[in-house]
Amino acid sequence: MNTEVNFAGIKMKNPVTVASGTFGYGREYSQFFDLSRLGGIITKGTSIKPRDGNKPSRICETPSGMLNSIGLQNPGVEYFLQYDLPWLKQQDTAVIVNACGSTIEDYVEVCKILNNADIDGVELNLSCPNVKAGCLAFGTTYEGVKEVTSRVRKVLDKPLIVKLTPNVTDITLPAKAAEDAGADGVSLINTLLGMSININTRKPYLANNTGGLSGPAVRPVAVRMVYQVSQAINIPILGMGGIVNGNDAIEFMLAGASAVSIGAGNFIDPYTSVNTVKGIEEYMIKNKIEDINEIVGKVEMN
């Protein structure tokens, strides 16, 4: 039985990764399980300079999910390279760094630095809904995604994955832009913009008023978008959005994802990611699947 995948040029022992912003730089979860059991780790969104993040409250629970507005709090790329990467490299799992910025120059600078780092790939965060300048602004149009991705592609030789926002009318357009600009893969979906109001104070729960919705609540939206994108582009898809077990992961792979990410699921149970690996293997045994790559895009539409 083979669970190994080659996603966008990144060799992984299984298709399960953990989504940016839900796993830090890995240390906290290593007290629960051996990180080498994961296909890969996608780091917290990392910028050229440290970022403090947004004012609290930053999160709130919603039906089958959660809203967050963290605001990309992170210690900056230099700190990551000095203090977190050396440790992360010893964990025997693929390391993909989520790179974020406020301007095109920010993205280019951070990727220039990452190009010389001992990492397996970069996920370009063009879709964080909680940062006013940049991010979502670049991620919502064909032109925006193409411009940033092209500029980054010029300075980055490593595998480049572009993370797409679902907060658009037609997600295949930014997906196509990423492909046209030379990205090796796309990841989707980032969070859906949402809002939740405390009826007693009449104020939104989040200090930022709005935030990104994630968790099982968004899964059908994510599956639909992965399917749509898989029909529109030829580069591989990292699928995510409410995956909490092996069956959910298989659903995304049938829809067209070559690999998957666990996000909010890590908060429900710290073992969700490794249990997803086990669940995929159980599905393979039960359905006599020799190679996990066989099922990618094998949904049979009605």
């Binding site: 906290e28 979860y29 409250s57 930053r58 999160i59 890590n266």
Partner: protein
């Protein structure tokens, strides 16, 4: 954070509201062994009063207030503490309860220059220091997190 050493403290104030009285009780049980403990507890009404007997056994002085006056002293516990703080020489204050209460204690401790620790609450995603959801602003700039660096903070350190 550097935790206060209970052994060095002679007189402690415990200050709690509502469900916040529970963690204070465990602390008071230890503190009474070596220090004088004054406890101030505030509740919404008579039905909401918690752990009165338990606190009696671990306090040299116990003051209970209710917002509606349905039990013991009518009003907010912070006002009783303000009255007593002039006469009692207090070495440290520990507080746990709703945010308005913590803000009042924080201001009082600062004004009287008394070391004070407050236990904060913020909604958490992971509880591990990963999601960075439970942020609390610190006076030195930026944020710390209730789940990892807290929940108990030096009251002079945080902006609440």
């Amino acid at each position: 954070m550097a935790h206060l050493n209970l052994q060095d403290i002679k007189i402690l104030q415990f200050f709690g509201g509502g469900i916040g009285v529970f963690p204070l009780y465990e602390l008071a049980k230890n503190a009474i062994k070596s220090a004088k403990v004054n406890t101030y507890l505030g509740f919404r009404n008579k039905e909401a009063v918690l752990l009165e007997k338990e606190f009696e056994s671990v306090s040299n002085k116990l003051v209970i207030t209710t917002d509606d006056g349905s039990y013991k002293i009518h009003g907010f516990a912070i006002n009783e503490l303000k009255n007593d703080i002039e006469s009692d020489k207090i070495d440290a204050i520990f507080a746990c309860g709703p945010l308005p209460l913590l803000k009042a204690v924080q201001a009082l401790a600062k004004e009287k220059n008394i070391p004070c620790q407050i236990s904060l609450e913020e909604r958490m995603g992971c509880g591990l220091g990963v999601c960075l959801g439970c942020a609390v602003e610190v006076v030195t700039g930026g944020y710390e997190h209730v789940c990892k660096q807290g929940p108990v903070f030096d009251s002079n350190k945080v902006i609440i």
